[in-house]
Every structure is written in C-alpha cells, then in structure tokens.
C-alpha cells in the first residue's frame, strides 16, 4: 500500500462520518448523500498528490466537501428549473417525504426553513448549528472572516425564526 493510500484510508476513517452528516443535511436524502460523499472522496483521492500542506488536512478536506456540495446544489437548481420547478420546492418535498426522518414536526419545519436559505448561508448555518464547527474552523474552510460568518449566522437565524413564526400564524 502506498503512502497516499494509507493517508486516504485514514482520511476516510477520520472524516467520512462527519462529512456524511453535513452532506446529508445539505442534500436532503440518504441516497444523494452517499453518492455525493463518494464524489467528494474521489476528488480527495485525485487531489491528494497535489496537497501541499498549506492548510491542515481537516480544512482541506472540508473545503473540497463544501465546494462539491455547493456545486451539486447549483446543478440541482438547474435540473429543477428544467422541470419548471424550484430547488426550494424540491428540498421541501425531500424533507417531507424522508423515510429516515424521525424527529418532531418542529424539527421538520426547522429543516425546511433552513433549506430555504440561500446556499452559502445555509451551508454556514448547517456547519455551525448541526456540525457544531467553531467560527474559526468555518472561517478557515470557507475563507470568510469570522465577523462575516457571525453576521451571516445571525441573519439566517432571523430568517428561520420569521419563517417558523409565519407557519404558526397560518396554523
């Protein structure tokens, strides 16, 4: 086994579960999360020889994962538009029909509200709220300043709150 293979196997052991949960929240279904995670690790394997160690492996692999996820969402947006639908409607449908969802209705509505956020804001929210990454970690991964991240998270929280309040009014 080559050094790169050994490093790759260690990366799979160390990060695949955490990244799977991130991707699962972002794409809405288990099948797509599995497929996307395989694409991410394929990218990691192909990019491993050019890894120069300028950032830590943790930051590097997260950066690949977040870029690939945003890329996947962009493609889904186009795919939905071609079917005269929107990605918001598609994500809502996925969350509603998710056979592996076993939370409360409030948790389901929270997931739907998060899915309505703009992609990058949503990614930051998911990383902070569900993946429990620190602002410093998110900053290193996304290249966004901690101040901007805090502002983005605050705005996302407000939007989600507003969204959930509107739902309560309509019920």
């Amino acid at each position: 086994m080559s050094d790169n293979e050994r490093i790759f196997h260690q990366l799979v052991k160390d990060y695949s579960e955490q990244l799977w949960w991130h991707v699962r929240r972002m794409v809405g279904t288990q099948e797509d999360a599995d497929d996307l995670l395989q694409e991410i690790f394929l990218k990691v394997w192909n990019a491993l020889p050019s890894f120069r160690g300028e950032s830590g492996l943790y930051t590097w692999i997260w950066r690949i994962a977040t870029n690939e996820t945003l890329n996947w969402l962009r493609k889904e947006r186009v795919r939905a538009a071609l079917r005269f639908s929107s990605i918001d409607a598609e994500m809502e449908r996925r969350i509603q029909a998710d056979p592996f969802f076993n939370g409360t209705e409030a948790q389901r509505e929270l997931s739907k509200a998060v899915a309505k956020l703009p992609e990058k804001q949503r990614q930051i929210f998911v990383m902070r709220w569900w993946d429990e990454l620190s602002y410093d970690e998110i900053s290193a991964i996304t290249g966004t300043s901690v101040g901007a991240l805090k502002a983005s998270f605050h705005i996302a929280q407000k939007k989600i709150k507003l969204n959930l309040e509107e739902l309560d009014v309509s019920k």
Binding site: F8, V12, K13, R77, V78, A81, L82, G103, S111
Partner: protein, 124 residues
C-alpha cells in the same frame, strides 16, 4: 431541541459506505492500467484501418472512377469510396432525448439565470 436525533441512520450504513470509499484508490488504479494494456493494439488497429482506407481511395482515384463527375472534390470522392452504396447517412440530425439535453445543460455549467434568459429569448 436535540440536534442530530431527528434523522435515523440504518445500522451498518456508514460502515458499508466507508468500505466503498476505501476501495476508491484500487478502482482508480485499475481503470488506467486496462486502457494502457490495450493502447498498443488500439493504435495498431487504427493505423491499419487508416492505411486500408487511404489505399482504397488512392487506387479507386487512380483507376479514374473519380473523373466521371468533374465537379467532385477529393473529400466528396473519399466519402463515396468509403461508402459506395450510400448507406451511411453522413449528416444526420441528432435525435436527442430530454434526458440527454438535460445532462448536456447540467454539464455545460449553465446557471439558472442563463437558462431563463435563453427561454425568454426563445419566446420573443
């Protein structure tokens, strides 16, 4: 509100997925090796096919069959020599399915905004 317990994960799912991920290096190394093994044979077959086609075209041209119609250029003659019975339709309109068009648009990195602008232009 508990954060992660709202989605269940089938037992052994991540372990099975990790095994697939671990197999990526082996899969990636196998594919190029197979192509590399076949490469000399493919090159040989392609050279042979090119020689046969060119030889056939030159022989027929030198035999004078091309002079039957003075308006022909060499490319037309070559096409005729490759397909004397005209069975191959050289310029055929591609029949694309919706899925193929969709895959093309996805792969072309088109944005939703561009997509809307194209649709909008088509309407007017």
């Amino acid at each position: 509100m508990a954060k992660r317990n709202d989605i269940s994960l089938p037992e052994g799912h991540l372990e099975a997925l990790q095994e697939k991920l671990m197999a990526i290096p082996a899969q990636q190394q196998e594919a190029p090796r197979g192509v590399r093994r076949l490469a000399p044979y493919l090159a040989y077959a392609a050279s042979l096919a090119a020689l046969v086609l060119m030889g056939n075209a030159i022989l027929r041209y030198s035999a004078g069959t091309a002079n039957q119609d003075e308006g022909w250029d060499y490319v037309s003659y070559l096409a005729q020599s490759l397909d004397p019975d005209g069975q191959i339709e050289l310029i055929a309109a591609p029949q694309l399915s919706d899925e193929e068009i969709e895959s093309y648009l996805i792969a072309s990195n088109i944005s939703v905004e561009q997509l809307y602008s194209v649709t909008y232009e088509e309407d007017y």
